[in-house]
């Protein structure tokens, strides 16, 4: 698989989905000036009009998701651009075990050192793939890093002061899901499902390549982040949480319900433990499912994955991860919680 990646990079073809060039007339400096003037005027004209409480609440949640995710996205994009521009491909060949089945758990465990939430992990994983890392290993890293890094584990410990085992369960279950998903992808995944982001070879200076990669990734991933933010904000405002409490008592259904809630709410993995702790009506196993599924599958992450790796990938990988997350949470919850 890694051979294929290298071959891809040497060919200067753009990935099929990225190639559609905008048919819009070229933007001139005048357009820029016009937009800025409209924004400044609009502040005085529109702000007093757009005050409906539902719209305000929706806009607050939408802006909050985007604003909160932006530093992580910029950090992830910086790291990804640095990987492609400055780290030679031979480094990864040495750092990871040669055998793909052994590389998956190593890459998953390496997720523990990237302190960030899920928005950072997608561009980093795509940068790793572009540098020839086995896709399955990069995917294990993608799933593990937002859930098992130190910042998230400390936040979980703070949110569950009476239940130290919750931290252990979260770490264990998340790593198991990441490794299993990586292995299953390695066994059953077909390379044409996954669109590996290709990078044009850096013929200029590394800095120019770095800047161009950052700019491209930021706009590309950022656009899909906004799609995720739009859907998450809409559902956040429209679906009342009281619907949930009706299923709180049912054993397996409650676990699935909280898993789905984690997908819909799209909360940053550094904050989800506090929300899980506030869902007092639910069993610890259901809360664990919320913590395991949330960092791996949620609306903004699905949008980012579709944008980065393609629809064919997301349509298979997202259900696989969700199912693994639920089953592993139930199993780990049975043993530990």
């Amino acid at each position: 698989m890694s051979d294929r990646t290298v071959a891809d990079r040497s060919v200067e073809l753009p990935p099929s989905g990225w190639g559609r060039r905008s048919a819009v007339a070229p933007v001139t400096p005048w357009t820029f000036g016009l937009i800025v003037i409209l924004l400044i005027l609009g502040q005085f004209l529109l702000v007093p009009l757009l005050t409906a409480p539902a719209l305000q609440t929706w806009a607050t949640v939408f802006v909050a998701i985007c604003v909160q995710a932006l530093p992580f996205l910029v950090f992830g994009v910086l790291l990804s651009a640095a990987i492609t521009a400055f780290v030679p491909p031979s480094f990864w060949a040495k750092a990871l075990p040669r055998h793909p089945y052994a590389a998956v758990p190593v890459a998953g465990a390496a997720g523990a050192v990237l302190p960030g939430c899920e928005c950072a992990s997608v561009p980093v994983a795509s940068g790793l793939m572009a540098r020839g890392v086995t896709p399955a290993a990069a995917l294990a890293f993608l799933l593990a890093s937002p859930a098992i890094n130190p910042v998230v584990l400390v936040a979980t410990a703070v949110a569950f002061p009476q239940q130290p085992l919750m931290v252990v369960s979260r770490f264990g279950a998340s790593l198991i899901v990441a490794v299993l998903a990586g292995w299953i992808w390695l066994r059953l995944g077909r390379s044409d499902w996954l669109r590996i982001p290709s990078r044009p070879p850096a013929s200029g200076s590394a800095w120019v390549a770095f800047r161009d990669a950052m700019r491209h990734d930021l706009l590309h991933a950022g656009g899909f982040l906004v799609v995720g933010g739009l859907t998450a904000a809409t559902l956040n405002v429209m679906v009342p949480r009281t619907w949930l409490t009706t299923v709180a008592g049912v054993p397996v259904l409650s676990v699935i319900a909280l898993g789905l809630l984690a997908v819909l709410l799209s909360i940053c993995s550094e904050a989800d433990a506090f929300v899980a702790a506030s869902l007092t009506a639910f069993s610890p196993t259901a809360k664990l499912a919320f913590l395991v599924v949330g960092p791996m599958v949620d609306l903004k992450l699905i949008a980012l994955q579709i944008g980065t790796f393609g629809r064919a990938f997301a349509a298979r990988f997202v259900p696989l991860t969700f199912a693994l997350g639920i089953v592993t949470s139930i199993a780990v919850g049975e043993v530990l919680l």
Binding site: W18, R20, S22, V27, T28, T31, F32, I35, V36, L39, I40, G42, Q43, L46, V47, L50, P53, T57, A59, T60, V61, F62, V63, A64, I65, V67, Q68, L70, V74, A159, P161, P200, S203, G204, S205, V208, A209, D212, A213, R215, H216, L218, L219, H220, G222, V226, V227, G229, A232, A233, V237, T242, L265, S266, E270, A271, F274, V275, S278, T280
Partner: protein
């Protein structure tokens, strides 16, 4: 999408982020105050990428294969190896427009009301609550008040006067209204409503920021209804105040 539009979007986005973090404290309506340095750093990076792009575009002017091409575009088509950004990137304008044109306020009564069952704040161990002074009014966070009312078996609230700061939320019951505060752990998307029922005072309009002074009404049955009802406060006085700089708890 050409390089000019890309730079334009990045400049607008970076500018908007810096507008709400450096030039004002609006960002506290959306995220934790601790986010400020990270947001400023991200805003500076995005703005710099956009401005560098704009300056390059301006210096190169009309001639396409100018000496400023830096050799980064070996295919000869100026700036198009990385201009394969799909149109989805235009969506990055939406948060910018929302920030400037809607100027969303911090979550208020609408968000707090839609969540009927009061959420339970993270429970502190009982020792975390120091005894309160008997002779003076104690200002208190709503989360702490709920924590003391629900989980403190020493009943440190009994007979003590406290002041709570929050916004007004109406209740379905006639005899009461809520003073509420949203508690967030990361951003407004994860905010939960903390509500205390206020009895014995006229209700100001929804979303008015108030300081309510009063005494806790201990539940009639000895058992504390943990997590099932908002604790009650018998109000002595309600004062309207301007919205605090940090609207969340």
């Amino acid at each position: 999408m050409n390089r000019m539009s890309q730079s334009l979007i990045l400049t607008l986005l970076g500018g908007a982020v810096l507008r709400i973090t450096v030039l004002s404290t609006t960002y506290t309506d959306y995220v934790k105050p601790g986010f400020r340095p990270f947001l400023i750093a991200a805003g500076v990076v995005v703005l710099a990428l956009g401005v560098i792009g704009l300056v390059q575009e301006w210096r190169e002017g009309g001639h396409r294969d100018g000496p400023h091409d830096d050799g980064a575009h070996p295919d000869g088509a100026h700036g198009h190896d990385h201009s394969r950004v799909p149109r989805v990137a235009w969506l990055l304008c939406l948060p910018v427009f929302a920030i400037f044109l809607i100027a969303p306020a911090p979550l208020g009564a609408f968000a707090a009301r839609s969540e009927e069952a009061p959420a339970r704040p993270p429970v502190q161990p009982a020792e975390a609550y120091v005894p309160l002074a008997a002779d003076k009014v104690t200002p208190m966070a709503i989360g702490e008040f709920i924590g003391r009312a629900w989980s403190d078996h020493k009943r440190t609230l009994s007979g003590k006067k406290v002041t709570l700061t929050g916004f007004v939320v109406r209740s379905a019951k006639k005899d009461r209204w809520y003073v509420a505060r949203m508690q967030m752990s990361c951003c407004a998307a994860d905010a939960i409503a903390l509500k205390v029922a206020v009895l014995g005072a006229e209700r100001p309009p929804d979303d008015t920021w108030v300081e309510v002074t009063g005494t806790w009404i201990a539940p009639k049955s000895g058992k504390i209804p943990n997590g099932t009802a908002a604790p009650e406060l018998a109000a002595d006085g309600v004062a309207e105040i301007p919205q605090p700089i940090e609207p969340y708890e």
